[in-house]
């Protein structure tokens, strides 16, 4: 669950857990997070929490609310954001899986408000969670959480892919070089013979796209499958020879 740590001049005062849908911050005693300082308005700001996401909203305070040094009216809080109200700081921590971890892609779950649970009743998406404060949702978790999945194989630890290009060796465009900067680059003549060079984390690959006959790679027919490209490979497509190379 997300939490806020209140500090002033680098001194930690208190820690708050964002367990409520709406957490009020202000000077008056009824606030969930009370900051007794004249720079703080009676009701200064509110934090709205919907499951794993939290938003802060300034409630028209006299001196305003800043997040990471910028004044905000409303802001979608991200882990380690620093909220400033006068001289007080509230740092936002969210131990829900971060956006970069694989566990972030949790299994799909269904969310329903208890009021409209099972039997008949007309259902339209508009009566579920449309406003700022939805009815406390009932989350049905289909499976016991499994151990965190292994890191995606082959994804993380690739050396950066060297830049590559192809140079046209024959035909009207002979001598021209084409940098392979996009993930997909097509070569050939549309309607006649086309191949695509794909740039992937583990290298460059060439695949036949259209045309009755296949292009050749180093003199051999490409066939229907993808082939990895090596430095100085020769491609012949639609009668034009070209060379693939890694840029120095």
């Amino acid at each position: 669950m997300a939490k806020l740590i209140l500090s002033v001049d680098g001194q930690v005062l208190k820690e708050y857990t964002l367990s409520k849908e709406r957490t009020l911050i202000g000077r008056k005693p009824h606030n969930d997070i009370q900051i007794d300082n004249l720079a703080v308005s009676g009701e200064h700001a509110a934090i709205i929490t919907i499951l794993n996401d939290s938003f802060i909203e300034d409630l028209g305070s006299t001196n305003g609310t800043m997040v990471n040094g910028k004044p905000i009216k409303k802001h979608f809080l991200q882990a380690n954001d620093v909220i400033e109200i006068g001289k007080h700081k509230l740092k936002y921590f969210n131990d829900a899986p971060s956006q970069t971890s694989p566990a972030d892609f949790e299994k799909t779950m269904i969310i329903r408000s208890p009021a409209k649970a099972p039997p008949p009743a007309e259902k339209s998406s508009s009566d579920t969670v449309t406003n700022m404060r939805p009815p406390a949702p009932e989350v049905v978790k289909p499976a016991a959480p499994v151990a965190p999945p292994p890191p995606p194989a082959g994804h993380a630890e690739h050396a950066p892919l060297p830049e590559a290009a192809i140079q046209v060796l024959s035909g009207a465009a002979a001598g021209r070089t084409l940098d392979l900067t996009k993930n997909l680059t097509t070569v050939g003549k549309p309607g006649l013979q086309v191949a695509v060079i794909t740039k992937r984390p583990n290298g460059y690959f060439i695949t036949h796209v259209e045309g009755a006959t296949f292009p050749t790679l180093n003199g051999a027919s490409l066939g229907a499958t993808a082939h990895p490209l090596a430095d100085h490979d020769m491609i012949e497509i639609a009668g034009v020879k070209m060379e693939f190379f890694f840029k120095p």
Partner: protein
Amino acid sequence: MNLSQALQSASLTDPGRVRDHNEDCVESRPEIGLYVLADGMGGYNAGEVASGMATSLIADGLAETWQPREVDRLSRDEAMALAERLVREQVVRANTAIYTTSQNNPECAGMGTTLVVCLFYDNFVSVAHIGDSRLYRLRGETMEQVTRDHSLLQEQLDSGLITPEEAKLSQNKNLVTKALGIDPTVEPELHVYETEPEDLYLLCSDGLNDMVDDEEIRLTLITLRSNPSLTVQQLVQAANDNGGRDNVSAMLVRVAEPFAVARGWLARFKALFR
């Protein structure tokens, strides 16, 4: 008319690079222009039970009830209305079957599935969806998301609570507000759209659109336009290259030529000899 000539299609489903089994399921009946994709959820193997039941029940059910020979006698408007009614009926029937199975089998308790169904006929497509599996359409160079997710995130977007930019950072991506087989009744969202020659229709599970952004999907569709099977391979590969954190499925339908139905006795008579 046999739609498998007018519509070129390809599909691919893959467990991705993290999950050890695939809870997505795809099924098609090209001869009647029917394409179904489902992304199951639920413990153990229940997710794939739900998605497998959904796709096979709907495909078989429509193959049985949607008889193009009979439908050809109707007016276009009547055919549209019938398509919508039969798709809805089969979706509701699948919902009942999945719900009953989950009630009667403890190991299947709580299972459900998202769903996209496309039924092509007479230059239109009848679309039904539930949950966050999507249909995209590429027309010319423009790609549009045809279905709107039934998800918490979409509702937050609709209400203006968050912006599309913020939505990309949300921790609530995996919460759907509707699914097939979870409740005794279900209300699928149904729409009919006119098709045009050279349109591309992409049905996909969230394992694709969570891993590959819309612009990348659009460029892939445009670049590989002439080759549907390579397109789906490329899309699945891109999702896996980006981490493949979920099962990923893509079904692509290309309108290679118009598929209007010949109406009137003379037209039908001529059609016999084509």
